[in-house]
Symmetry: C2
Subunit: 141 residues, 2 copies
DNA sequence: GTGATTGCAAATCTTTTGCACTAAA
DNA sequence: TTTAGTGCAAAAGATTTGCAATCAC
């Protein structure tokens, strides 16, 4: 059974995927609905896989990995490096930064206007600045 | 054969290790000499392992990994996250930031005074700022 | 001697890939 | 029907670990 709002959500999601050049398959729609349900989610592949299972979305772990990578390439997601050996995916693709709660392994958004970088070095010859990542690492007080 | 300057270097390295609470073993001394030969080196475990082999230092890859981790814990090295699935180790432990040449997978130091952060958000309740990492990601121009 | 360290191989963990099957257009 | 996408299992790559042998103190 599908409610009206779910149907609407799916239609929006399908358009979003199509606009990104991705076929709106059942798995991609399901994962996108999970990812973009809230405003700023930070998930690992394993976490999203667990959520999909909990939501009775039949999808393999390999497809979760592949889909996350495709979403990043398509500009729907941003990859955030906070810990060695584990990738976080951020549904907030606007310009912003992050707190990283080291003990919990948890990311938290910092709005772009909460950080102001007054001075940046010039890029070395032959190089262009692609992005400036600021990660504020946090400990328990 | 060992030259005088090598002997001196080893004595300094041994003190440095002892001060950090680590026994100055042959492997640790050898790796430390390689690491701290220059001012600001950025190496991966595999790179350091290759260097050790080239320098006829007999050490296993596992020991390279373990030693790097111990050096980080002891405050002799800093781990830098720039790429998913690969850890870089920085011999410069003073406050500074990084360029990351994405295409080459290469880190470059940015002196602390070349970046000025005019505004930072307050840490969430119960948390302390441990460190602020700034990584300037670079593309080919 | 005694406890820390090392080496090796095996284990672990995250992520990617090959290929037969299925689904979207 | 044609091409893209999926699932599974296997591979790949980075890193860690168990344990016997070795080294520093």
């Amino acid at each position: 059974m599908q409610t009206n709002s779910e149907a609407l959500e799916n239609a929006e999601t399908q358009n979003r995927l199509r606009d990104a050049g991705l076929r709106p398959t059942r798995q991609r729609i399901g994962l996108a609905n999970l990812l973009f349900a809230g405003d700023c989610r930070h998930v690992t592949a394993e976490e999203l896989f667990a959520e999909a299972n909990a939501a009775a979305l039949s999808v393999s772990l390999a497809t979760v990995y592949n889909t996350l990578r495709q979403f990043v390439d398509a500009g729907l997601l941003r990859e955030v490096l906070a810990e060695p050996g584990r990738a976080y995916f951020d549904t907030n693709i606007s310009d912003h930064h992050h707190f990283f709660h080291v003990a919990e392994g948890r990311l938290e958004d910092v709005p772009a206007d909460a950080v102001s970088i007054a001075k940046l070095p010039v890029a070395p010859a032959g190089a262009n600045v692609e992005r400036v990542d600021v990660i504020i690492r946090l400990n328990k007080a």
